[in-house]
């Protein structure tokens, strides 16, 4: 059976060049970069090279990059570290209703401890109202946390405009850019971001490595206490092989992004057009244009996303419903909920996220194989067959598609 991987927002394979670059740092150049001797010296240079590679991709200085273990750690560090460091200023956070759980659940944790959080709503395309955002800022507001690109729908927020608002009101701006870095240009200077989080495994580096950009002069309490690594910002022995991998992945992304994003977007648009032509009663979730080039989230009315994913998997096609972090506990997506997608439609949502390895043959295969699966599942769906489509509100919503 052919394996077709359309879940690159969940994770990506480590690129072969990245793996090759990492391998010497397991056994041959094994030193601890904090050591003074030759073994440490062998790797400390590689560490700093990687730091520069990451910085270049997002237009930062190497000194502003701190390596962390994953995107979730970076987000926790940004939010918790800010609120602790700025505890004299206030206890109010502004974020959006569609953030990744790494941000949302951290904010909920803080709410239970006396902080107040404003969750900005989004419109039906998943877009923010910047007037509303600016109006939410109070003298108590210490942090604005807005993601660059939504992991489920791919919707891109106008980060530069949000950064300008944050700068105008002198509110610190944290951006979870885990889904954006490597897929679209990210410039922390142009966007006026103070804290920005990157995850390695979303762009061809291994799992278990990430980075946080901390604008020079930003006071941030560490999350992990211990040794003096990373200028006292993050304790723990450096994961040298993965840091080397992240560095190279960032450099390659910078070189190839312009070309590859055009190629991936063409495939994504092909998939989108093919599915909309072949399957009636489907709905695009996410912004029609302001969207990651690789992401397509659609609801197939009348069926459950869970069933479709399993049937696609039986054919070797890997897709996702919502974020992989909640798969296995398949709650209706909070992102689609915030976009006021009707609940049975939200349950039928499926995310296809493409990568550089996908081919037009693979996409053609999906366009061929998926419509009959959807029809088969609809034929078995009690809702589809209930015959009382005028009787309930959700059926009415579905009918209008």
């Amino acid at each position: 059976m052919n394996h077709i991987y359309l879940d690159n927002n969940a994770t990506t394979p480590v690129r072969p060049e990245v793996l090759s670059a990492m391998l010497p740092y397991f056994s041959e150049q094994f030193g601890n970069p904090s050591s003074v001797h030759w073994a440490g010296r062998q790797v400390s240079g590689a560490l700093e090279k990687a730091r520069a590679q990451v910085a270049t991709l997002i237009n930062a200085s190497p000194a502003e990059i701190v390596f962390v273990s994953c995107g979730s750690e970076g987000d926790n560090m940004a939010i918790l570290g800010t609120l602790d460091a700025l505890s004299d200023k206030g206890k109010h956070i502004i974020t959006t209703a569609v953030e990744h759980p790494a941000v949302l659940n951290t904010c909920e944790y803080l709410e239970k401890r006396g902080y107040s959080v404003t969750y900005l709503p989004v419109d039906a395309d998943g877009m923010l109202d910047l007037v509303e955002l600016e109006a939410a800022i109070t003298p108590e507001t210490v942090l604005l946390s807005v993601m660059w690109a939504n992991n489920e729908t791919g919707t891109l927020f106008p980060i530069a405009e949000i950064g300008a608002i944050a700068k105008k009101h002198q509110v610190r701006f944290h951006c979870d850019a885990v889904q954006a870095v490597g897929k679209v240009p990210v410039d922390v200077q142009a966007a006026n971001v103070d804290l920005l989080v990157i995850s390695g495994h979303k762009l061809g580096a291994p799992k278990g490595i990430g980075a946080i950009y901390i604008r020079r002069g930003t006071k941030l309490t560490p999350l992990l206490h211990g040794g003096h690594q990373e200028r006292n910002r993050r304790a723990g022995t450096h994961n040298v092989p993965s840091i080397v991998g992240l560095g190279l992945a960032c450099e390659l992304a910078g070189q190839e992004m312009a070309e590859k994003s055009v190629q991936i977007k063409a495939l994504r648009d092909h998939l989108e057009a093919g599915l909309f032509a072949a399957v009636p009663q489907i709905k695009l979730n996410g912004h029609p244009t302001e969207r990651l080039p690789n992401t397509l989230n659609v609801s197939f009315a009348w069926i459950e996303g869970e069933s479709l994913l399993m049937s696609l998997d039986m054919k070797g096609i890997a897709a996702s419903s919502g974020s992989a972090c909640t798969s296995g506990s398949l709650e209706p997506s909070h992102v689609l909920g915030a976009m006021c997608v009707e609940v049975t439609l939200a349950h039928s949502s499926t995310r296809f996220s493409l990568g550089a390895n996908n081919t037009v043959e693979e996409i053609d295969y999906v366009i061929e194989i998926l419509p009959p699966i959807v029809q088969r599942l609809r034929d078995m769906s009690p809702l589809y067959n209930c015959g009382k489509v005028d009787a309930c509100e959700s059926c009415d919503t579905l009918k209008r598609l």
């Binding site: 069933s307 399993m310 998997d313 039986m314 296995g328 506990s329 398949l330 709650e331 088969r376």
Partner: protein
């Protein structure tokens, strides 16, 4: 060995070509062995675990382990078993349905003075309804579970029969299965004893072969259902009188939901003879106690009946089981015009508990059942 054990009962499987079979995997010995045996017979087996409950809601006191059938750890166990025997594995999330179809009725029943049976409901509403639907969606030919019961293709349709191991027979929990469901379901362990299943599990070197039996209700892993009910619905202002059958108040209670029919311990009453809970009146907040003879009941009324045979229109003699571990007793079943059914026992029975299921048998065959009012 597997083939010898299966052949007489599962001729269906053995004579047909390779089938696609979904196995409901809990992570326990029985369902794991079911999956391994079907795989060994050459079928295309897909394992599915129903995630029905958020176990992060519980923390066992002093870190004790939960010995129940479907804990979160068991999802990991099921995944490990699926990996070990080399079958695809999925987790499906039925938490919302489990809450509305099993937990909510469970709580409602207790607070209405009855003692519910959530396992039957879970089988009826989730395992053989929603999970079976999932199996059909995957174009599976059948859904197999590790229940100790048998399905026999008879002249007049499928017959649901007891498992051959009398100590393990679970047919009581399956009386709601319709002919259509029986036609899509397999119980490969129905002709085996628990020892044989454990032997198979050891032969397959399943990572769960040594696991102990689950005892409690899966969503009350520590067995403290009173605490569970109070967490779900709140506690307090539910006090009332404990009355002797003579009408005399003999004590106070802190909520009728804390009691079940036949309960003797924990009543806190000084009385010359042992007293048992014989009736619970939730509306009046009363628990009625009496001597052992007051537990004797000669007839009972059932509603919401399910039949694996055509529903009787005339009185019918059958053996009737009134709870899982009850030895069924001969009785006359008399259908009423309103769809309910009167069971009249030849000999009075003790411990008839509203909220439990009564299941009718003809020898080892399940005829149907209903809910005790």
């Amino acid at each position: 060995m597997g083939a010898r054990l299966f052949a007489p009962l599962y001729g269906f499987i053995m004579t047909q070509k390779k089938k696609r079979i979904v196995v409901a995997m809990s992570g326990g010995v029985d369902s794991s062995t079911t999956a391994a045996l079907l795989k060994e017979q050459g079928h295309e087996v897909i394992g599915i675990t129903m995630q029905i409950w958020d176990y992060s809601r519980f923390t066992a006191p002093d870190g004790q382990l939960f010995g129940s059938c479907c804990s979160l750890d068991d999802v990991y166990d099921a995944r490990r078993v699926a990996e070990a025997i080399g079958i695809p594995f999925y987790v499906v999330n039925f938490e919302a349905d489990f809450q509305s179809q099993v937990i909510d009725p469970f709580c409602n029943e207790y607070f209405a003075g009855r003692t519910p049976n959530p396992c039957v409901l879970c089988n009826q509403k989730l395992k053989f309804e929603r999970l079976l639907q999932r199996a059909h969606e995957l174009e599976a030919d059948a859904l197999a579970t590790g229940h100790y019961a048998r399905i026999v293709a008879g002249a007049a349709g499928y017959e649901l029969r007891k498992g051959l191991d009398p100590a393990k027979d679970q047919s009581y929990f399956l009386f709601t299965l319709s002919q259509q469901q029986l036609g899509s379901v397999l119980f490969p362990l129905g002709a085996m004893t628990k020892e044989e299943v454990r032997a198979h599990a050891a032969r397959f070197a399943l990572p769960v072969a040594e696991k102990s039996e689950s005892q409690d209700i899966c969503f009350v892993p520590d067995g403290d259902y009173v605490r569970f009910l109070e967490e779900e619905r709140g506690s307090g202002h539910k006090d009332g009188a404990i009355l002797h059958v003579s009408g005399k108040e003999v004590g106070r209670h802190r909520g009728t939901y804390r009691y079940t029919i036949g309960q003797r311990r924990g009543l806190g009453i000084a009385w010359p003879h042992p007293l048992y809970v014989v009736r619970i009146d939730a509306e009046r907040h009363e628990v009625i106690v009496g001597e052992e003879e007051f537990l004797q009941v000669s007839s009972l009324l059932l509603r919401n009946l399910c039949w694996t045979v055509p529903a009787p229109v005339a009185p019918l003699r059958a053996n009737c089981r009134i709870r899982y571990r009850h030895h069924e007793a001969p009785a006359l079943l008399t259908p009423n015009a309103d769809g309910s059914l009167l069971v009249t026992f030849d000999q009075p029975q003790t411990g008839v508990t509203p909220g439990q299921a009564a299941v009718f048998y003809d020898d080892d065959r399940v005829l149907g059942g209903g809910w005790i009012q």
